[in-house]
Structures are given as C-alpha cells and as structure tokens.
Amino acid sequence: MTRITWQGQRYELQEGETVLEALLRIGASVPYSCRSGVCQTCMMRAVAGDPGEASRHRLSEEQRARGAFLPCICHPQTDLELAPMQDELPIMATTVVSKTPLGDVLRLRLAPRKPISFRAGQFINVHAEDGVVRSYSIASVPTLDDGVLELHVRRLPDGRVSTWLHEVLREGDELCVQGPLGECCYVLGETQRPLLLIGTGSGLAPLWGILRDALHNGHTGPIYLYHGSRDAEGLYLHDELCALEAMRPEQFHYIPCVSGPNVSPDCRSGRASDAALADHSKLTGWRVYVCGHPQMVEETRRSVFLAGARIADIHTDAFTLSR
C-alpha cells in the first residue's frame, strides 16, 4: 500500500485514489478546483518520494526543480511526504467594476487594486465565498481595457461559484483572484498568419480577448471565429462580433453556429467545430485556438491536427467542470 505523510501523520492511499482525493477524505483543508491538472490550485511539494511524471509534466522547470506536483492527478508508486508550496501564487484583491448579464453569461469586469500583468486568453483563479476556487479565462486586453480583467461566467445549473457570482456579488464588492496562468494567447510577431478560433459557450471569452489582441497588434492575416451554442441566446456577443466583422469585412469572419433545433437564418446549423472544419479542410500553416467544452476541445484538437495544423500551433483552454 502506498502511503502519504501530511502534517506529520501517515495515511494509506486507497485503490485508484489520487493524492488530492485522499487528502479530502481525511478531512485535510487544502485548496483545489479543477481536479484535472489544469488550474494548479492544489499544487504541493513532494519532500520525500516520487509523485510520478504524470503529475508534473505541465509544470515549469522551476516548479519541478522545487519538487512541485499536482495532487489532483497524482497516483504515486512510492510513499510520499507532502508540504505546501511556500510561495504559491499571491492572492490579489480586485474591485467589481461592472456586472452585465448577457443571457446566461455574466460579463464581469474587475479592476485590480494593484496592476496585474496578464494577457488575453490566460486564466485566473477566482476565490469565491467559503474559499471555493474556480478558474475563468481572461477576455480583456490590458492596454485596451485599462488593466481591467473581464471574465465571462456562464450560469451552471448546480454551479456554486457561478450562482454566487451571478446573484450575490455586487458592483463595488471586493473579489480576490490568483494568477494569471496559462498560455492560450495571441502569438506576437506573425501578423500575416491565418487564425482559426473555435469556441463553444463561454469558451468565447479567451477567443474574444485573443481576437482583439491580434487586431490591436496589427494582425493582417485572415481571422475566422466560429462560436457555437445550443440556441441563439447563447451567442452572447453576437452583436459586437457582427459589428467588428462589418468594420473589417475583408479580414475578420464571424460564423455563429447553433447546434439545437431553432436555427435563425443568420446562423449556421450544427456544431462550431464541424462548421470550421467543413470550411477549412486544409490547415497547414494556420494557428488554431480551441476553447470551451472539454470533450469538444479534445476532439477538435485532433481534427485540426489531422487537417494539417502543427501541434505547437494548436492552443486550447480545456476546463474540466469540477465534480
């Protein structure tokens, strides 16, 4: 049996259990969020033992050198002694500037009390009440939006944090964030490259940021944005995207897609990823961004790779919903 040592106590790992699951089972008070090795909220150090490559491969060289690993995806083969990260990402205070409901999606704007260095398409961890943490992608561009963080929060049926952000949080309130993290950003210095952006639901948030970042940085190559939703109400930036397309009809193409039964005449019927691949079957030389539902992201990543995009040129921000 593999054992973990936490705060001087030893515990046995149960069959198939991750280190995080074991910690929660024994009642340890540890922060966590995505449970899928993405958000780094639960990151710890292994002071003794080997957490295994799978729980570390996405971390930076610096983090790895300090013994960091992600307990939520760690199935250790050896006994482990755990310690918290000493200098975890600092928690920063922001002020809620505005809350704009766009159907099911809340456009939330946060002004950091001290400037935060970030890029559109990265994500931040939001600390809601009771210490619950959720990751949200950044839809704003620092230089265009006065350093304000814009997040798009979709209301989920049983979403603790999304419900709290929609209903309880008020303009003027303080909200703490951690980050930014992630690298799903516009790549500077290749202004002529064709860009393909595919997103479902609030996966549009990073794409909206990347799109504006690209245009702001003088991108001249064509940009295609496919936004998919079950119904037309879910196309929550429809008017703004149509306006942007009208301003740059030669360069920017917005293709709204509705996968449910009620398709309005100005939308494509079917999934955004299917429409994008039907229109662009050869993606050699393209840079591609895929954001939204995790299963859609994985499937689309594979499809765009098979269509010729290089692995290094496919960017994703798959967020697994917390169980």
Partner: protein, 122 residues
Amino acid sequence: MADSLYNRLGGEAAVNAAVDIFYRKVLADKRISHFFDNVDMSRQAAKQKAFLTVAFGGPNNYSGQDMRKGHAHLVSRGLNDGHFDAVMENLAATLQELSVPPEMIAECAAIAESTRSDVLCR
C-alpha cells in the same frame, strides 16, 4: 560521433521536423489509431518524439525493460505484429516525405525493428 546516424539525419531538429508528420500518419491509420484514443495529445506527441529519437539513433536511456513496461497495457489490449508493422510503415513514409535517403531510412528501420520483441513483450 560527428557521423552518427542521428547527426547525419540532423539531430533534434530532424526529430522535430518528423514528429508532427509521423504522429499525423499514425492517428490517421485506422489499423492503429484506436490505441491513441483518449490520450492527451501533448503527452502523446512527447512520446512520439522519444520514439523517433530512438529510431534516429539519438541519445536515450530506454532499456528493453522500459519498453516492455511502457507497452504492456497495449499488449493486453491486443497490440501485435500487424500493428508494429503499421508503425514501421508510417515511420518509413515519414522519412520518405522528408526526403531522407533510402539507406538512412533502412538504418532507422533496423533500429526500430530491434525493439519489436520488447514492445510486444515477448
């Protein structure tokens, strides 16, 4: 070692040039693509890169035991000689696409072939 196969092929740059082409062929090959379903693509690409480094005669620390351990779960899912042959074909086709001379392709094939019994856990 200036004239080693790995250096003649172009070293790490050659591996980087080959990995996307090779992995795309493998994923598109119906005979073997099911072994790659539900596998994180970035991690898988790293493994393909490791495989190509070995096949190119490059620096690696893989033992026969590592090969066995790394493929045992695939053997239990039915990995056999036919699948191994398919990978060999895709490797050769990748190198042809990159205009590698036939005699160097043969050298790579011989190295890859030498892992067959370990990969298939025999």
